[in-house]
Subunit: 281 residues, 2 copies
């Protein structure tokens, strides 16, 4: 395993971890000062009409862009909704190219608001992803498909396991041209009895590793994620699993924690994230 | 598909659906009057020192026992805890035999309270299940392994998919002597991208089909389950899937709903359950 404590090159901060309380300029400076080499910003923090401005701010701070968060949901009740989502996601890819992000993270969407047809909605999503391919090829930016915890299947993502993401990659990018890969998030996949096997099969598709922790008593599955080391996930084992299989990207911290971490000063959050990366991940 | 409206023979009521507000005698009478042919009671409703009394009450009302709920968690921090759990679960099997239940439903347990070692805890669980085999053989009662939604992996069940349950059955009961089977609960498995394939492979192991519904906005994943038809699960498709693969047991309603259904009169709950079985399952 790599030693994450030696410098900023292996560690990335996803800005969601700080709760979106400050402008990107300030966040970028804090993240760099805390010893992270990469940052993954969200779309609401970037003026997508002038993405070169955010690119400049990030570069000036000496940071690289880990990824860009995230796609809009591809599933929708009508054709118009699906087309609007594809248009928006195409723009996200173009912006990611300007930012120098290697990929846009895809949270693909759950059941369309008035649908129970899980198969049809998965097909809508795959069609939407397929429609991005010309833009991916033109920009060199990839889509990192992020399987979300099955808790989110109804309203956020019908992509729920690493194995399913691998199958989608095989369908969307059969020759593995780097158009589609997988973002493995500890919070979403730690429970999977097939995790090791599916990481084996997906080893050449893993684009990102996200870490936080699953609290044994989870109040709100969306916004009650834990700091690494405070919950039940064997994070070091997961990192070893993906690094053994060839993953070389930065380890990215992404913590949604409305009632705990998002209430703390950003400097404190960043300091503890950096420590925990060294001690428990 | 079978026609569930023709009579009581294909439908079962899990008493959790009524919120455990009344003694078993009263519940049994209501369930029979509402047109269910089977009932699945819980251990706290049965005097396990004298299970013949509950057996008599159920038989007198003309009901059969669908299953018996449920095992205690097999995972524990120490050997003493694991032994106590096995002893208790052995007793549950013996009581099930007196009740005439074909199986005890197993909710196997999550991570032991002070453990993060998911592999070790799964092994503890498998060892505990293995230890029940002499009692299963002696009584003719089976264990129906119930995969729980991955949301419960930390604190309730490290058995989370039908495929995993099938693998456990193959390990515990390699010749399929009927010692171990699978309880498929719509709430827990509806999201699984491998559901159809895993039902195919597990077709000769399916012992139970539980129904309720997943609400799109789920507040409490434990106690906010929906009435069939009020949520997003394609219940008729799931029933068709398991019946096509040979399932002939009763369809069992099991709804945990602290803030909604458990506040309603039992007769109303039972009437609506019975209607929805006919119209949406």
């Amino acid at each position: 395993m790599r030693d994450l404590s030696v410098g900023p090159d292996c560690v990335c901060l996803n800005t969601a971890t700080l709760g979106f309380r400050d402008p990107l300029e300030l966040t970028v400076r804090r993240v760099a000062e805390a010893g992270f080499g990469f940052i993954t910003p969200w779309r609401q923090e970037v003026d997508e009409r002038h993405p070169e401005r955010a690119a400049h701010v990030i570069r000036d701070a000496g940071l690289k862009v880990g990824g860009y968060c995230r796609t809009e949901y591809f599933s929708a009740d009508d054709r118009g909704g699906r087309t609007a989502s594809i248009d928006s996601n195409r723009r996200a890819v173009e912006v990611a190219a300007v930012l120098g992000a290697p990929f846009v993270v895809a949270v693909v969407g759950g059941l369309a608001p008035n649908s129970r047809d899980i198969q049809a909605c998965r097909e809508q999503i795959l069609e939407g992803l397929e429609a991005l391919k010309p833009t991916l090829k033109a920009t060199g930016v990839a889509i990192a498909l992020e399987p979300l915890h099955p808790f989110y299947a109804a309203d956020r993502s019908l992509l729920n396991t690493v194995e399913q993401a691998r199958r989608w990659c095989e369908r969307l990018d059969p020759d593995n041209e780097g158009l589609f890969g997988i973002a493995v998030d500890a919070y979403h996949v730690w429970w999977d009895p097939d995790l090791e096997g599916s990481l084996d099969r997906a080893s050449d598709r893993i684009m990102a590793l996200h870490v936080c922790d699953w609290m044994r008593q989870t109040g709100d599955p969306l916004l009650d994620r834990g700091m690494m080391g405070d919950g039940v996930i064997e994070l070091a084992r997961l990192r070893q699993s993906v690094e053994t299989r060839g993953f070389k990207g930065p380890v990215e911290v992404e913590i949604f924690s409305k009632e705990n971490w998002w209430k703390r000063p950003p400097e404190e959050i960043l300091r503890i994230c950096r420590e925990r990366l060294n001690t428990v991940v």
